[in-house]
């Protein structure tokens, strides 16, 4: 199908974005990489009157280390994220996640802000951002506010963004020597959204697990921080028994829906397999081999 008719405005400053949003209210939609928005317009799922292109807003760009946090501008393209040395050093989970996102052509345009704002439950970046215990930097005419990533995703394709507000950046705590992270997923074909996925971070302090954050995607309404599985791991030394305990605890964390790929039981099963695979990578033998 063809897009409905809409207006287009290219903003070059945040002030301009806020002015256009104030002027057009619900009729205006932000356009970043367009990799989700333009497809949904062609489905005629929504018919905004105006697209406000934010890709020219310099304040939303750039990756920098600031006060012990890695600040990633909302307009950072997936491809840029994947090759950025600061990201590789301080948030290697994101570097590892990028090849799972779609295909090169889409990664060259799609942005982290767009992915987080759209909040697809099977998307990689929302899960990673939650696993990294990051903070969302949201901006509006009223100024900036910060929301913990875990509180940002509020439901199916829903976020804590308010009308007139946009994602300016995400702030990611930097990895330490004790940090471990992994992302694993099962997708029908490379580049597809995952049937089930897991982004995880934890600290290994003398073989003991601290602050584990197992976050599943593709198995719920958004990224699912697995509270019971995390609790089962906290303070335990990492071994096969700990992994088994996490797998067992997971049953209470997940309530997946059936989709075209299969029934809820399959998703639960896959989440368990992924838990095994991700955590096994941190076992001493695996680390020695790597």
């Amino acid at each position: 199908m063809k897009w409905p008719a809409f207006g287009y405005a290219r903003a070059s400053t945040l002030e301009e974005v806020f002015r256009l949003q104030a002027e057009h209210g619900d009729d205006a939609r932000l356009l970043a990489g367009g990799q989700t928005l333009l497809a949904t317009l062609a489905f005629r799922l929504s018919e905004p009157k105006l697209l406000v292109d934010i890709t020219g807003v310099a304040a939303l760009r750039g990756i920098a280390l600031q006060g012990g946090l890695l600040r990633i501008g909302a307009l950072t393209r997936h491809a840029e994220l994947g090759r950025d040395p600061l990201v590789a050093q301080h948030a290697p989970l994101l570097t590892e996640a990028v090849p799972f996102i779609a295909h090169p052509a889409i990664r060259n345009r799609g942005t982290i802000g767009g992915s987080l704002a759209y909040a697809d439950p099977a998307a990689e970046l929302p899960a990673c951002i939650v696993a990294l215990d990051s903070t969302m930097v949201l901006a509006s005419a009223a100024g900036e506010r910060r929301v913990a990533a875990g509180d940002f995703f509020t439901g199916l394709l829903e976020t804590a963004l308010r009308p007139g507000e946009l994602i300016a950046a995400v702030e990611v705590p930097v990895a330490t020597d004790a940090s471990r992270s992994a992302i694993v997923e099962v997708a029908r074909r490379s580049g597809d959204y995952a049937m089930a996925g897991l982004a995880t971070t934890l600290r290994l302090e003398g073989g003991v697990i601290r602050a584990p954050r197992l976050v599943y995607f593709g198995v719920g309404n958004g990224p699912v921080l697995a509270a019971r599985a995390n609790a089962a791991l906290e303070g335990r030394s990492l071994d096969a028994a700990a992994i088994a305990a996490a797998r067992a605890a997971l049953a209470g964390d997940l309530d997946p829906q059936a989709d075209l790929h299969g029934p809820p039981e399959m998703k639960r099963h896959l989440a368990g397999v992924l838990t095994q695979r991700a955590l096994s990578r941190f076992l001493p033998a695996a680390e020695a081999a790597a």
Binding site: R189, D192, L260, V273
Partner: protein, 798 residues
Amino acid sequence: MNDMPTPASIGLSREDLPNSYIGRSVPRPNLPKLVQGRATYTDDVQPPRLVHAAFLRSPYAHARILSVDSAAAMQVPGVVRVFTGADLAKVCDPWVATLDHLKGMKSAQQHPLPLDRATWQGEPVVAVVADSRAAAEDGVAALAVEWEPLPAQLDIETALDPDTVVIHPSLGDNLCFTRTAEKGDVAAAFAAAHRVVEATFLTGRHTGVTLEGRSILADYNKAEGTLTVHHSTQAPHMMQGVFAKQLRMEEGAVRVICRDVGGSFGIKVHVYPDEVAVAAMAKAMGRPVKFVADRFESFVSDIHARDHRIKGRIAVDAEGKILAFDIDDRTGIGPYSVYPRTSAIEGNQVVNLCGGPYDFANYRCTTTVVFQNKTPTCQYRAVGHPIATTVTEGLVDLAAEALGIDPIEMRRRNLIRDDAYPYTSPPGMRFEGLSHHAALAKLLEMVPVEKIRADQAEQRKKGVHRGLGFASFIELTNPSPFMYGIGGARISAQDGATVRMDPDGSIVALSGVTEQGQGTEGILRQIVAHGVGVPLERVKVITGDTQTTPYGGGTWACRGAGIGGEAALQSAIALKQQILVVAGAMLQAAPESLDIVLGQIVDKDTERERMPLSELGRIVYYRGDTLPKDLPRELVQTRHFITKDYPFAFTNGIQASWVEVDTDTGMVKLLEHWCVEDCGRVINPLLVDEQVRGGIVQGLGGALYEHCVYDEQGNLLTTTMADYLVPMSAEMPEMHIGHVETPTGESLLGAKGAGEAGTAGAPAALMNAINDALRPLSARVTEQPFTPARILRALGTV
């Protein structure tokens, strides 16, 4: 001079091949145009006064159309006109898709837009014509249609039950067609068998996703009374006849032009109601109307295929000799049989092809073809073959397993002997010459079976499950009128070619077969260059225009090379003979003593150059006064070809698939794939190999990913490329292709078809490989596509 040419006399013997264009991997002429974006697809044609059509499609699988209110749509800026079924019925006749030779077949009348009832979700119901496609879609959104949803008949198993909704009450029930082929004494064979094994197979409903969607631009010129249709189609001449008949015109007043086509796979050889509607609207409006199916509507309106449930039994003796097959096939085809090929052919093919590669005596196979409220199904690449091969090869492997016989040995014991031809199969298929054992031997040269089996055993110890699977197959190609013509369909099995020489010595070939992106024009160029004796670059091939090319059937059932190629070869040879007569007069030499080599007239014995063709052309076209008065000088020749001895030229082959199954996730990794096929004379090895590879990919797609999934109300759920999964290069295995060449004796060229072999065998080879991997875990899958969910279910994991 006028001796009948033979393959040897025209340079097709093995020894000649290095010097011939036939048998060489030369690049095809249209490639630069395609990759540089300079092709002309139907959508690229933009005549003045063009308007665009969009369709309101039924949101229900089955519903009565109570009213259509187009007042608001007519107010939408840009909208020119709205057409309902009743409007079009005034200018366009309905059709019924049955074939006389399919005894008892029935189907209902179909109009371009239905008069009072929609019978599948996605059926075009109302058309809006506007000055842009976007405006037409705005118009569609503004239409107000009142529906009365009706119960939908979706299930193929219950389609014939007494309390099931009958989709077309005038037909009495939902049965379209049924046929049983029986040979020998099946009951006795099963009773006496050493072992009987049975299984039920599903082949998932899927579709052919063409890169270029279905496209049509029809223009009715009231001043001339002519209809010109630019059409992305496989069969321009057939469509010429269809448009003429439905729109009550003379065939001669209709011209169908088919320039570049972005893939077809059988999707574009059928009559689609929305396309006929476009032609009818053009006639009604007297101006050009264009319609290009977008991806959404392609999924709900392009034909689907392969919605089959097959129960099969095989009887074997203690040595593994196959005694009998007993097969019950049931298939759902949507609410209408598709015009004019009909939707009963796929089931009929299953009956014709099961057990095909094997020598056995007792056979029973029934197909039951039923109507349902889903998208119509019809012929798609390798019609019926992957289904028949899946059942046959699945059962053969099960029998081998039951007897503890190696699958390769099982096949060796049962494949029809290479010296057994001509041979007639139990369902009555006549084979001129096949090479099952030679193909198996060749395959075993390519597949390192021992190494693979050692690796398999080693990996199993580590909990890694790999499997090797085989599938022998036959493929029906070069069809005669026995396929459609005898059933009353105006579908040409013959094809023609005109080859001419122009003044500069260049050659133009016009052919009735068509180019879909598969390289038809490339092989025709090779054949003509060889036949006349000119450099490849001197030949221009023209296809896809009913006004200029000889009448022909176009592209279907693997006939382009075998039928169209032979017509081109014969007309090229005739032209050469004509040129040599003129050359003989000019050079005062006997025509038999001359030859044409790379565009030069030469002495046949010494190859001494006598005269370039351009000189001959100059004299013939500008100085004809210098030639003897009575010398025939028509440097243009036309020949038509039709097969006469066999209804079909069967080909054969065997495939092997090597896979790894992740038993934790149910994911299948395709490690390697092999195919040996015998398409007779190979004209261009590169193109044949790529046809086979593409075919394998399409077969693997259906077996692993592609699935048209419906909900319980009959809504298609897989309507985007994110939900309908096509095979992508990253997941495809390394593919090794080998050939055995058994040319058909029906033609000089000896070519049979190669386009469907890959698709015919790949699903079965893959299924057998997966089941080989799962065997130690006592799990087995027989339902395609082999999704992770199905594999995990077979493993008892979920």
